[in-house]
């Protein structure tokens, strides 16, 4: 049974899910949505995701939305297949969860707003707010300082293995480095840079990048 993933393959939140599915070798089909045509705000999609956002998944009869809930589900469902993305003990799982929360609450909004102002709005022919972009960048600098400190103590955010906590950062950092001209935030920090090099060279992520460029 193929998992249907609703959303554009180039969008960050669907990529979070797709990266996880590829890590776990789960077959999927991307059902493309045209966000600029407002597909995600139309009545039939709102039945899948009442907040009108991507992604949503359909796995047989089972449906879910919210990318971080979806990755937690699949990482648990296929816990014994492929890399262990959750951690082993209850304590390890809690630390993975902690850094997933950090991504959601301390990292994501800053990256989202920065990318919105510097990349998305200009692509739509609108003016980005450069003052807001600067504020986000300054705050993100401080967050990356904390990541640098953390990653000097362990190879990955939650410990010595790649987990959902690292995976959740892949799409956002890609946007920063490749689209927003903010690569220096990563490259100027030795441990963050090494971490990004490692996680962005994982076969699953590279496969996703290839699929997204086709």
């Amino acid at each position: 049974m193929v998992v249907k993933v609703y959303g554009p393959i180039k969008a960050a939140c669907p990529q979070r899910v797709l990266s996880c599915l590829l890590e776990k070798d789960v077959d999927f089909q991307v059902v493309h949505l045209h966000l600029d045509a407002g597909d995600h705000k139309k009545p039939d999609f709102l039945l899948r995701q009442p907040f009108g956002q991507v992604p949503a998944i359909e796995d047989g009869d089972f449906k879910l939305f919210e990318s971080r809930a979806i990755i937690r589900y699949y990482a648990t469902k296929y816990e014994n297949r492929g890399p262990n993305l959750l951690g082993n003990s209850l304590e390890e799982k809690a630390v993975v969860d902690q850094w997933l929360e950090v991504e959601a609450h301390n990292f994501n909004d800053l990256v989202y707003n920065l990318v919105l102002q510097l990349v998305i709005l200009p692509r739509m022919g609108k003016q980005g707010d450069s003052a807001l972009a600067l504020t986000c960048q300054q705050k993100l600098d401080k967050v990356f300082d904390i990541y640098e400190q953390r990653l000097s103590a362990s190879a990955y955010l939650a410990g010595d293995s790649f987990t959902l906590a690292d995976l959740s950062h892949q799409p956002g950092i890609r946007y920063l480095v490749e689209d927003a001209g903010m690569g220096h935030l990563v490259s100027q920090r030795k441990h963050v840079n090494a971490w990004w090099e490692t996680i962005s060279n994982r076969p699953a992520w590279k496969k996703l990048m290839k699929l997204a460029s086709d």
Binding site: P50, F51, L64, E66, A94, E101, N106, I146, R150
Partner: protein, 220 residues
């Protein structure tokens, strides 16, 4: 060994964790962190949470921050006690709980938190609440609550007909929200209102709510 929770009784994030600890009948010690003295932004606290935020939970050698991760850990560790907040025996119910935990995190919290900040924190900085920020966020929160109203007309609680961590996560910030002039956003929606009255009357939350008196006279 007893759990130690570093935080403040009037803080909604600390209260989120304490509500969960009470639901699970887990003994803990609340170690006060002096927010007004900026204790959370300095060492030694920064060594516990480099983001300089409360709460932090210490359980033997394990130290955790982020209130939702802490609560999920407590709910898992003590899953055999009290109500099953994470539906650990049903894989699909557990996934539904995770969806609505994310909804709280990604949709509800970003809209309600600035409103709380304007009414409770701005006055401390000598400023009047910024009506533009309040209006912007009440509009966003209204749309989120429309989705909740629809969902709660079909299931008793957010993730299904069972109380879960997803509902619990809403308690502490909503408690403060109900003290603002914007409380009608909840009260005007019958299913949301009934849900709020149900979840806020749970004994575990009542234990915590009485200490959530930020901004009340004589308390600063």
């Amino acid at each position: 060994m007893e759990l130690k929770l570093y935080g403040a009784a009037l803080s909604p994030c600390t209260s989120r964790v304490m509500t969960c600890l009470h639901e699970k009948e887990a003994d803990f010690e609340l170690v006060p962190v002096d927010l007004f003295a900026g204790e959370h932004k300095q060492l030694p606290f920064l060594a516990k949470n480099p983001f300089g935020q409360i709460p932090v939970l210490e359980d033997g050698d394990l130290s955790l921050f982020e209130s939702r991760a802490i609560s999920a850990y407590v709910a898992e560790k003590f899953k055999q006690t009290g109500d099953d907040l994470i539906r650990h025996q049903s894989f699909k119910e557990a996934a539904e709980v995770k969806v609505w935990m994310e909804v709280e995190s990604q949709h509800y919290h970003p809209a309600i938190s600035p409103i709380i900040f304007q009414f409770f924190a701005s006055p401390l900085q000598g400023k009047a609440p910024d009506q533009a920020i309040i209006d912007d966020n009440t509009e966003k929160l209204g749309k989120v609550l429309d989705v909740y109203e629809d969902k709660l007309s079909r299931t008793k609680y957010l993730a299904g007909d069972f109380y879960s961590l997803a509902d619990l996560f809403h308690l502490s910030f909503t408690y403060y929200f109900m003290k603002t002039p914007c409380a009608h956003l909840i009260n005007d929606r019958p299913h949301v209102k009934a849900w709020w009255e149900d979840i806020s009357s749970r004994p575990a939350f009542q234990k915590v709510a009485s200490a959530m008196n930020f901004g009340e006279k004589g308390n600063l």
